[in-house]
Amino acid sequence: MTTDSERDELPTDISIRVPNIVLRIFRSWRKFPLSLHIGLLILLFQLAVALLANTLYPQDPFELVGMPFMAPGEDPLFPLGTDILGRDIAAGVVHGSRVSLLVGFAATLIATIVGTTIGLVSGYFGGWVDHALMRLTELFQVIPHFLFAIILVSIMGADLSNIILAIGLTSWSMVARLARAETLALRELDFVKISVVMGGGHLRAILTHVLPNALPPVIVSASILTALAVLTEAGLAFFGMSDSNHVSWGSMIGASRDALLTAPYMTLIPGAAIVVAVMGFSLIGDGLGQILRRGHRI
């Protein structure tokens, strides 16, 4: 995360520097911090599993394929065992990665778009706009996000798009504050002012000058948000608020939790998948943060 002292040293040609960072990311894999390496590998693996789900397990993961309550390894056909209804847990984990990734990315996208927009507008224009938007942001900040998501899902109904929307709408406040802080520093810089003086208009200044420069910390926070979104989805599903028509890791845990005492593997296996995925996103966030800090120094 950038500190204020670092931000003070921002050179004025910052607008050219950011694309450089992006380029550098792809050029200098070896220079990456270890956490980013591991995080990206986990993400790539997860993407591969999600993309290949239909090849690996062409059958519907909801299909009742075996005897219920088969422990992992009991039958080589079902390496991770079967659940309460005799569904293949391995197939569930593989197909569940799709929903978890989808929820993670889509909810983060919503949170990032909403949060960045509000943060940019608020920071750029200041005054009463800033006041109004920041009070709104605080409103969203003070309500516990998970409880808020539960309320939204129970009002709107537990289908996948509502779950994504609920998670997205409850987690944008952090992004908004971050984007606003960046914008507050950026709007005072000469190239932004010059752009307006030259008749470019506020919208142009925001989109072409402020946004690209405010983005790096937002991207870092987005990867953390993705991890949180995956966790929130699992939490909602644990309380029965999942879309019964899509298998997700959270819904697998939710469906098996009343067998927790007799067949803990049913909840542990999808639980482990969640741990790995959340760790992956967190490591990416951590790694990007390190690069960002390094980027300022170079």
């Binding site: 519907d60 909801f62 019964s244 009343d258």
Partner: protein, 538 residues
């Protein structure tokens, strides 16, 4: 039971020395079996928190569990449906069977001190049961008028003899409300629905929503000396594993209607501290059912309904979803209701996907290039995780014959609104109680006059058939019991043929209780035992 104190005295008088040791042993044993006064039992509000506390207004399991401690009926059931006195001490049927006379118990008072009289019975019959009860219209179809010659006598004048009325007057099915608190009010919104005043062994103390319902001993109870317990506290524990943990730790001592998950049943049965009892559910005759909305396509076509019946492998259904505890359903009347069950001649729906495919083709729902025929929805009754599993099983069965079903999750009020108010559903996985007699349990789901807006557990399918109505109404006025039984056998066959409601399984429910909780009822309706004989071992 002999008085333990006198038996000790006798022993001591007879043999002074040798008897001393023996008397201690004997005394110990008889003390263990003698009811102890006092103590609080924590019970489970299951399957969820009630919305009211009187089963005169809502007849759902969690309401009846609490209501049965607060309210009495005219009669109750012993073992094997033996009818026993409760608020009525005696009943006589006239020779022509057209008059049913009850002598009421003298000196009974409502919890607020007002005397209980025949006027309460007449009022509840006319203004509550016949107005807002989903089943009373069928049950009491033969009743012409209820008369109250004096405060302790109630006479049901009938148009024709009826075999269903006496048993239906138990406190669960026909809960009696105090006239002085309900007269000239809107029954469904009366404030006493949530702070009930009854005549039963326990009276209402407080209800902290989402947490507990507290009932305390009614010191003025007509059965002197009872109840033994000081308090019964109902707790809401939504999570199945937490419920089992609560039993295991002793935080909860009593739970009915399958209070723990089937995965934990084995643990409970092996436990040293818990009892599991499958008895007391005979009157309830619990069934897992699928109801079709016959008002609109696709299930307005009987061929589509039959196709679904052929597409669901009921044997696998009970094995997988209930771990073999339930039995595949064959008729709306359960095979355990031996008196009425038709057995022979019932249309059978063997599991056969080819037949299902053929029926769906005939009904005009051919397979499209993507392998599907039509899309539909499954709404499941939110009575715990098992019902969601029933729905998931059904969805997979549908899929195999090309029906794409989306499962919809909702809470109980939403489910009731969808099915019984808005009729905006295709297919539900639900529960149906047989309630001892098909005139009570079955009529209400297949009789056109039981299509009652906003009333849960009525004919939600919207099934209406003149042929069926004729049979049902003939059964209501059957001159004798044999004829009534015969008609109900025909009704089952027709219901199974038209299949507006598909009985998936004969459910087997159970009660879990602490071994320390003694004196629980054993009758055919003891799932809703009043706990007046229950006591806690010290």
């Amino acid at each position: 039971m002999s008085n333990p104190r006198t038996s000790i005295l006798k022993l001591r008088r007879r043999t002074f020395l040798a008897g001393a040791a023996a008397s201690l042993v004997l005394a110990g044993r008889s003390f263990a079996d003698a009811p102890v006064r006092g103590g609080t039992v924590v019970a489970l509000a299951h399957p969820g928190e009630p919305n009211v506390l009187t089963s005169a207004v809502v007849q759902t399991g969690q309401v009846q569990s609490v209501s049965s401690k607060i309210f009495d009926g005219l009669i109750t059931f012993g073992d094997n449906f033996e009818i026993k006195p409760e608020l009525a001490t005696k009943w006589t049927t006239s020779e022509d069977g057209k008059e049913l006379r009850f002598d009421l118990r003298p000196g009974v008072r409502w919890h607020d001190g007002t005397p209980f009289t025949s006027a309460d019975v007449k009022f509840t019959f006319e203004s509550v049961w016949m107005k807002i009860h989903p089943r009373a219209r069928a049950t009491f179809a033969a009743v012409d008028v209820v008369e109250t010659p004096d405060p302790l006598t109630v006479v049901f004048k009938l148009r024709n003899p009826s075999g269903v009325i006496l048993g239906a007057l138990n406190g669960l099915e026909s809960t009696i409300l105090p006239k002085h608190l309900y007269e000239n009010t809107d029954i469904q919104t009366n404030p006493y629905n949530i702070k009930p005043v009854g005549t039963g062994p326990f009276r209402f103390k407080e209800w902290v929503r989402g947490d507990r319902i507290v009932l305390e001993r009614n010191p003025d109870y007509w059965d002197a000396g009872k109840p033994y317990l000081d308090q019964v506290i109902y707790r809401v524990i939504p999570d199945a594993t937490a419920r089992y943990a609560a039993f295991e730790s002793g935080a909860v001592q009593y739970g009915t209607l399958t209070p723990i998950s089937l995965s934990d049943l084995g643990l409970a049965q092996k436990s040293d501290t818990l009892d599991v009892d499958f008895h007391g559910y005979e009157w309830l005759a619990s069934a897992i059912v699928a109801d079709f909305n016959v008002r609109r396509p696709p299930f307005n076509d009987v061929r589509v309904r039959r196709a679904v019946a052929h597409a669901i492998d009921l044997k696998a259904f009970v094995r997988v979803t209930t771990r073999g505890l339930a039995k595949p359903g064959t008729s709306p009347v359960l095979s355990t209701q031996t008196k009425f069950y038709a057995g022979e001649g019932l249309p059978e729906y063997t599991f056969d996907r080819a037949v299902a495919d053929q029926l769906l083709d005939e009904a005009g729902y051919p397979k499209k290039p993507d392998g599907t025929r039509f899309a539909t929805t499954i709404d499941w009754l939110p009575f715990g995780e098992t019902f969601q599993r029933f729905a998931e099983f059904a969805r997979q069965a549908f899929k195999a014959v090309g029906i794409e079903a989306t499962i919809r999750n909702q809470d109980l009020p939403q489910f009731f609104r969808r099915v019984y108010s808005e009729n905006d559903f295709d297919f539900t996985i639900s529960h149906r109680a047989g309630l001892g007699d098909p005139q009570i349990g079955i009529d209400r789901v297949i009789w056109s006059k039981a299509i009652l807006k906003d009333i849960p557990w009525s004919n939600g399918s919207g099934y209406s058939s003149p042929e069926m109505d004729k049979l049902i109404e003939a059964a209501h006025v059957a001159p004798n019991e044999d004829k009534r039984v015969e008609l109900y056998k025909q009704i089952q066959v027709l219901a199974q043929r038209d299949i507006p409601t598909f009985t998936l399984a004969e459910n087997k429910q159970f009660t879990v209780s602490s071994k320390k909780l003694r004196g629980l009822g054993t009758g055919s309706i003891s799932v809703y035992d009043s706990l007046k004989d229950a006591w806690l071992e010290a």
